[in-house]
Amino acid sequence: MDKMALFNGFLIIFFIVLFVLLIVMGQTLRTSLFLRRKLPLAFCFIMGVTMIFQFFIPPENSLYKEIEDLSTKWIQIISSFALVIGLISLVTMNFNKISRKYEDWQYSIVLLLGFFITIFYGLRDGFEGKEFDFIFNYMYVPMQSTMFSILAFFVASAAFRAFRARSREATLLLTAAVIVMLGRVELGSVIWSYIPVVSRYFDVSELAQWINTVFTTAGQRAILLGASLGYIAASFKILLGIERSYFGSEE
C-alpha cells in the first residue's frame, strides 16, 4: 500500500480517537466552572493581547513573522473545522426531512446528491478534475450569477414601493439613486437629455461622480467612523471578558 495513503488513514484514526477522548473529557469535566468559564476567557484575552502586541514589533523582526504565521495557521485550521459544524447541520437536517417525509422532502434528496457528488469529485481530484470542473462551470457559476441577478427584479419592486417621494428625505434618496443609475450607462445619458433645463447645465455622469465623491464619501465616512469606534469598544469588552455572548445561551 502507498505509504502516504497509510499515513492518511492513520491520521484519520488518530483524529477520531482524539475526538472521542475530547468528548469523554468534556462530559467528565463539565461541572468545572474554571474550565467552562475562566479558561476560555483567558484564551480570548491572551490571543487578543498577542495580536495587539504583534503590531508593536517591527515587521523586519523575525518574531513578527512568526506570530503572524502561527496565528494565521491556527485561525485557518480552526475555521476549517468550524465549517464542518455547518455542514453536519445541513446534512442531518435534510436527512431528518427525508426520513420523516416532511413537506418538500424530495428536494432534500437533490440537495444531498448535489452536495455529496461535489465533495466526492472535489476531494478525489481537486480543482483539476474534469467532473468537478464541469460542476463548477456549468452548474455552480451559472446558478450563482442567476441567483444574484434575480435580485434585480426584487430590488426594482421594493424600490417601487419604498421610493414614493412622500417626504423630503425620501425625495433625496430617490433623486440620488436615479442620478447614479442614469450616470452609469449610455442609455442614461440619452434619457437625461430629455429632462428640460437641468440637462442643459449638468452632465448626468459627472453629476453621479460628484455625488459619489462628495456626498457618498461624507456619509460613508461618518458611518465608518461611528461603526469603527463601536467595533473597537466591543472588542475591548470581549477581550476583558465583559461581553460573553459568544459563549452561548447558558451565560
Binding site: I52, I77, I85, S108, V110, T118, Y138, T175, S228, L239
Partner: protein, 281 residues
C-alpha cells in the same frame, strides 16, 4: 416541430462526428438551471425548488472542497505528512545528523549545528508539530463537539481563540485604517483658495466640494450623537442636514447595487441568447 424550423439554432449536444459534446451538455444544463431559477419570477414552482436545492447542495460541497484544498490541506495535512516523514527518518537512523533524500546538505548541517543531539532535535520537532498543527487541530475538534450537547462547552475554547484573534486585530487595524486615516483624510486644506491669484474656477469648485464633504461629515456625525437632544440653533439644523447627507449616500449606494445586479442580469441573458440559443454573437 423541430426547433430549427422555428428559426432557433440551439447549442448542439452532439459534435459533427456524432460524439457527445461535453460543452454542449454543460451549456444545456446551465441554460435549463438558469431558466429554472428565473421561473420563480412567475411563481414558486417545482423547477425553481429543484434548482434552488441543487444550488445549496453544490455550494455547500464547493465550500467544503475549497476549504479543504486551500486551507486544511496546506495548513495541516501536508505539513503533518512532511514532518512525519522526516521524523520517521530521524528516529530510525543510527547516526546523527541524519542524511535523507529529502534533505539537502546545508539543511543537514544546519540541524546538526542547531540541535546538536538527536534527542534535542526530536524534542524540538515534536514541540513544533504540537504548537503549529496539533494544538489548533485539537481546538478544531473541540469546535465539532458542539454537536454533542453534553460536551458542547468545549467549543468555547476555539470560539474564544477566534474571537480573541479578531478582537485583537480589529482594535489596532480598525483604529488605524477606519478611524485615524479617515480623520486625517478629512482635514482638507483651503490654502489654494486663500492663495489664489485671480479667479480660478477649478480651485473654487474643489474647495467648495471639500467644504461640503467636511461639513456633511460633521453633520452626519452630529446626527449619530445621541447624548443630547437634536434641538437648538446648532444641533437641530446640523442633524437635519446630516440626515440629508445620509439619505443621498443610501440612495447612491442603492443605485450602485441595482446597476451591479442589472449587469449580472445582462450577463445571464447574453449567455441564454448567445451561448445557448446562438442568436447573439
Amino acid at each position: 416541430m423541430p426547433l430549427f424550423m422555428l428559426g432557433l439554432n440551439f447549442k448542439p449536444v452532439f459534435e459533427t462526428g456524432g460524439a457527445v459534446s461535453v460543452e454542449g451538455i454543460g451549456i444545456w444544463i446551465a441554460a435549463l438551471l438558469t431558466l429554472g431559477i428565473y421561473s420563480f419570477l412567475y411563481k414558486d414552482n417545482f423547477v425553481y425548488k429543484f434548482s434552488e436545492y441543487l444550488f445549496v447542495g453544490i455550494s455547500a460541497g464547493y465550500t467544503l472542497v475549497l476549504t479543504f484544498h486551500k486551507y486544511l490541506k496546506p495548513s495541516l495535512i501536508e505539513p503533518l505528512q512532511e514532518y512525519s516523514r522526516d521524523f520517521y527518518h530521524i528516529i530510525t537512523s543510527s547516526s546523527f545528523p541524519v542524511v535523507n533524500p529529502w534533505m539537502l546538505d546545508w539543511q543537514t548541517q544546519l540541524i546538526a549545528n542547531k540541535f546538536g543531539t538527536q534527542f534535542q532535535f526530536i524534542f524540538w520537532f515534536t514541540f513544533k508539530i504540537f504548537i503549529f498543527y496539533l494544538f489548533p487541530a485539537i481546538l478544531g475538534l473541540m469546535m465539532i463537539s458542539r454537536v454533542i450537547p453534553s460536551a458542547a462547552w468545549l467549543s468555547r475554547f476555539p470560539l474564544a481563540t477566534i474571537v480573541g484573534y479578531g478582537s485583537g486585530i480589529v482594535i489596532v487595524t480598525t483604529l488605524h485604517a477606519s478611524v485615524l486615516e479617515q480623520v486625517k483624510a478629512s482635514f482638507v486644506s483651503f490654502a489654494p483658495l486663500l492663495h489664489m491669484k485671480g479667479i480660478d474656477w477649478g480651485i473654487i469648485a474643489q474647495s467648495a466640494n471639500d467644504f461640503i464633504l467636511v461639513f456633511g461629515l460633521c453633520c452626519a456625525i452630529i446626527y449619530f450623537y445621541f447624548s443630547a437632544e437634536h434641538k437648538g440653533v446648532i444641533l437641530g439644523p446640523a442633524s437635519n442636514f446630516g440626515i440629508w447627507v445620509l439619505m443621498i449616500t443610501f440612495g447612491a449606494s442603492f443605485g450602485y447595487t441595482v446597476m451591479a445586479r442589472i449587469s449580472l442580469l445582462i450577463g445571464r441573458f447574453q449567455f441564454l441568447l448567445g451561448d445557448w440559443m446562438q442568436l447573439v454573437k
